[in-house]
């Protein structure tokens, strides 16, 4: 036996991959220069990006934060030797007006209420949105809409408390009536009793309680709402209410009960067949004329209702899409387990249908949030409406891109966060079946 072997007996030591396939160079070769055609495309793209950025940045980077008028901006820029129509941005308008763009005409000494209100929205929604949030927060979730409304509008604390009591009234009406007269009548009572309470009893009761125990904070009128807080208020309310409303409408549309189905189809098709602007005009002008004189039906409330109904109609169709995508076997499986309608919906149908619909739901949310800018057409000063009002100041007349850029940036932050959240949710709910 000789020691000579013709086959290697031990492994070669591992070597580093070639320098051209790892690190920055590797990434560039892989992604940008993987062939002559791709290389040309990459170079052209890089040039285009360079041209855009160099134009944009040389405009955007402009030391005009302290300026108090457009002319002052121009003087500052001229002092730097920058002349011409697009010599530089005039950021003074943002530094002077950003609070107004955020809070509108809300009294500055009460800004904390707005901020606290939106923090409470976050706290109230956290247990719903993230399963890592403490479960104890769940008790706060049904309360927060009333707390937020009270903080934003102020006034006596009894208003929101009495409004909340409407739901308690509805619950007891259901328990009482369904106990003696059966389920369907119970459900009808559960809807009718709170409406009666809100329409006829809530006002006097709140007034009486307020007279006995006047607890409250300074009231802020809706007219003073503006800027992003107006957009966010309308947007969040519409989003929060349109989802449950949309689910109910989608289920109603699939119902076997003729009247329920007809009502839902009629509502959805009517609302979807009318542009949002038309609904807003109805809210701002028509309702005014038809309501009895002296009624003071808050303009923002009217707008919120219209936007919510509009969003709910779209939401219903998105969810119906999710319901339609479920295989028939799921419904039949639920039936064969002996589950009743609501149990089947809650345990089997809805969790799957909603999961399928997440991208559609979130894009409806984003669309609703952006649609809130339409209220500027009926004279509410949302960010876009305010941009016009700010330009009407002689100091800032002639400024366009700075204000729109700022508004676009803030909107992007909101919408992009929603979009990222929906992707997180999809990943979290991914069960690997598909």
């Amino acid at each position: 036996m000789s020691d000579i072997s013709f086959v290697r007996t031990e492994m070669l030591p591992e070597q580093d991959p070639p320098a051209s396939t790892v690190g920055l160079i590797g990434w560039l070769r892989e992604n940008l220069f993987s062939g002559w055609f791709n290389s040309i495309l990459s170079l052209v793209s890089i040039y285009v990006i360079y041209v855009i950025l160099s134009g944009l940045l040389s405009w955007a980077i402009s030391p005009t934060w302290g300026a108090h008028s457009l002319n002052e901006c121009r003087e500052i820029l001229a002092g730097l030797g920058r002349e011409g129509h697009y010599a530089g941005a005039c950021w003074g308008v943002i530094s002077e007006r950003w609070l107004q763009l955020m809070f509108g005409f809300y009294p500055p000494e009460h800004y904390w209420r707005v901020i606290l209100a939106f923090v409470l929205v976050g706290v109230g929604l956290a247990p719903v949105l993230f399963d890592k949030a403490p479960r104890a927060l769940l008790w706060f979730t049904p309360i927060f809409p009333f707390a937020v409304a009270w903080l934003l509008w102020g006034g006596t604390i009894w208003g929101p408390l009495v409004a909340m009591a409407g739901f308690v009234v509805g619950y007891f009406a259901y328990r009482f009536v369904s106990g003696i007269a059966g389920g369907l009548l119970g459900i009808i009572a559960a809807f009718a009793a709170p409406v009666i309470w809100w329409l006829f009893l809530a006002g006097p009761v709140a007034g009486a309680l307020g007279a006995i125990l006047p607890i409250g904070i300074e009231a802020v009128e809706s007219r003073q709402f503006g800027g992003f807080m107006l957009s966010v208020t309308i947007g969040i309310t519409a989003i929060l209410i349109s989802l449950p409303l949309g689910i109910v409408l989608a289920l109603g549309r699939q119902s076997n009960l003729f009247i329920v189905k007809a009502l839902c189809v009629g509502f959805i098709e009517f609302i979807r067949g009318v542009p949002l602007i038309t609904l807003l005009f109805v809210a701002s002008t028509l309702l005014n004329i038809f309501m009895p004189p002296g009624t003071n039906f808050d303009i923002i409330l009217r707008v919120i209702i219209m936007v919510t109904l509009f969003a709910a109609a779209y939401m219903a169709e998105v969810i119906r899409g999710g319901l339609a995508a479920l295989p028939k076997g799921q419904y039949e499986g639920a039936d064969s387990l002996g589950l009743n309608y609501w149990q089947a919906q809650r345990l089997i149908i809805m969790p799957q249908a909603l999961k399928i619909s997440i991208p559609g739901i979130v894009s409806t949310f984003i669309g609703v949030f952006k649609d809130t800018t339409l209220v500027s057409i009926i004279g509410l000063l949302d960010p876009l409406g305010l941009s016009n009002a700010i330009r009407a100041d002689t100091n800032w007349n002639g400024i366009v891109w700075e204000i729109y850029g700022f508004i676009a940036l803030v909107f992007f932050i909101f919408c992009f966060s929603m979009s990222r959240y929906s992707m997180y949710l999809e990943r979290k709910l991914q069960t690997g079946h598909h």
């Binding site: 457009l70 002319n71 121009r74 011409g84 129509h85 002077e96 007006r97 107004q100 509108g104 005409f105 500055p108 009128e221 007219r223 003073q224 005009f281 701002s284 002008t285 028509l286 005014n288 004329i289 038809f290 009895p292 004189p293 002296g294 500027s376 057409i377 009926i378 004279g379 509410l380 000063l381 409406g385 016009n388 009002a389 700010i390 330009r391 009407a392 100041d393 002689t394 007349n397 002639g398 366009v400």
Partner: protein
């Protein structure tokens, strides 16, 4: 049947509005605030400052009325209205008066059931062109592209003017003044046409205002004034005579500076009647004797309001022109306080 129900509801609603309107003064006093409709923002005429306080030439009328009625020029709730919502806001009672550079026309006065109480600014439609175009008269604009706001009377006036002069133009429709500025500066149109006051305000924002000229032709009459609902003449009288008080004050030489001195009593009986030291004009209006004094003190007389907001000392730099007192060759002519 359906139609008659609908009409019945309308009648009821309008009767209700009539009932509500009959006591606007009482409503305003009970509320402690005047609801005044203004634009959502027009340079020099109405705009909120950084603190959210509204300022401007139209705003000054609201403040004067609030001062006269409520004694506090700041007791005004400004309701921003657009060109589309302004008339329903007034008709439905959401606002007590509208001071929103609104042109007094026959159909608005008669058909829409409003009362224009006077004119606080005589405007007219003009043209702005770049100086390098070398045009000195609107009649030389044959074949020009014109930036024009859609859905306004200016659009109709423009068509009339070009047709009457037998020349052609190409319209570039735009929605807002801000858009017009950008389009015009970018050269998308040769000419920008809107109210002359708006043109002056727009030109003042340009990098080099002297490179643009306003053509001498004014092709329309645009008397802008505050208006109230039909049917409440007492309230209309208050707004009308508050505006007249500002105009008369300028004519009589009453300013916010000397009003304290003059209200001690003067040799001019009309000044005395205006300021309430003689006669009972305030009582006739349902107000106290010093109503006009407070209205004038709110922002000064008409001339002072003009100079502060849109006059030659401001960037907008409008000359008095038609808006001078009749004694100076203008059209301002307040009926006597007697």
């Amino acid at each position: 049947m359906k139609k008659s129900v609908f009409l019945g509801a309308l009648t009821l609603a309008s009767m209700g509005a009539g009932v509500a309107a009959a006591a606007t003064l009482d409503d305003v006093k009970a509320r402690g605030k005047l609801n005044c409709g203004v634009t959502t923002g027009l340079v020099g005429f109405a705009a909120p400052d950084a603190n959210g306080v509204w300022e401007g030439f139209d705003v000054a009328v609201c403040r004067a009325v609030a001062a006269a009625v409520l004694g506090d020029p700041m007791a005004v709730e400004f309701v921003p209205t657009t060109g589309k919502t302004r008339f329903t806001a007034l008709a439905s009672g959401e606002i007590d008066m509208l001071a929103r550079n609104t042109t007094w026309t026959f159909s608005r006065d008669v058909d829409l059931k409003f009362d224009f109480v006077g004119v606080n600014y005589y405007d007219g439609q003009g043209f702005m062109v770049p100086k390098e175009l070398g045009v000195s008269s609107a009649k030389e604009l044959d074949g020009a592209t014109v930036c024009i706001q859609t859905g306004t009377t200016t659009e109709l006036n423009l068509a009339d003017f070009f047709r009457a002069n037998n020349i052609s133009y190409e319209p570039v429709p735009i929605e807002t003044n801000a858009e017009a500025q950008q389009q015009y500066l970018a050269g998308a149109c040769d000419v920008y046409t809107t109210d002359a006051s708006g043109l002056a305000a727009t030109r003042a924002t340009f990098e080099d205002p002297s490179a643009h000229v306003l053509l001498p032709e004014i092709i329309s009459k645009e008397p802008l004034g505050p208006l109230v609902r039909h049917g409440d003449n007492e309230w209309g009288d208050i707004v009308r005579w508050t505006l007249n008080a500002l105009i008369s004050a300028e004519e009589l030489g009453v300013t916010s500076a000397n009003i304290g001195e003059l209200s001690a009593g003067t040799n001019n009986p009309e000044v005395n009647r205006l300021l309430g030291t003689e006669g009972n004009l305030g009582e006739m209006l349902g107000l106290d004797a010093e109503w006009a004094k407070r209205a004038i003190m709110a922002g000064g007389n008409y001339g002072e309001v003009f100079e502060k907001n849109i006059g030659e000392a401001t960037p907008i730099g409008l000359a008095r022109g038609l808006n001078a007192q009749w004694t100076d060759g203008g059209l301002l002519y307040s009926p006597p306080f007697r």
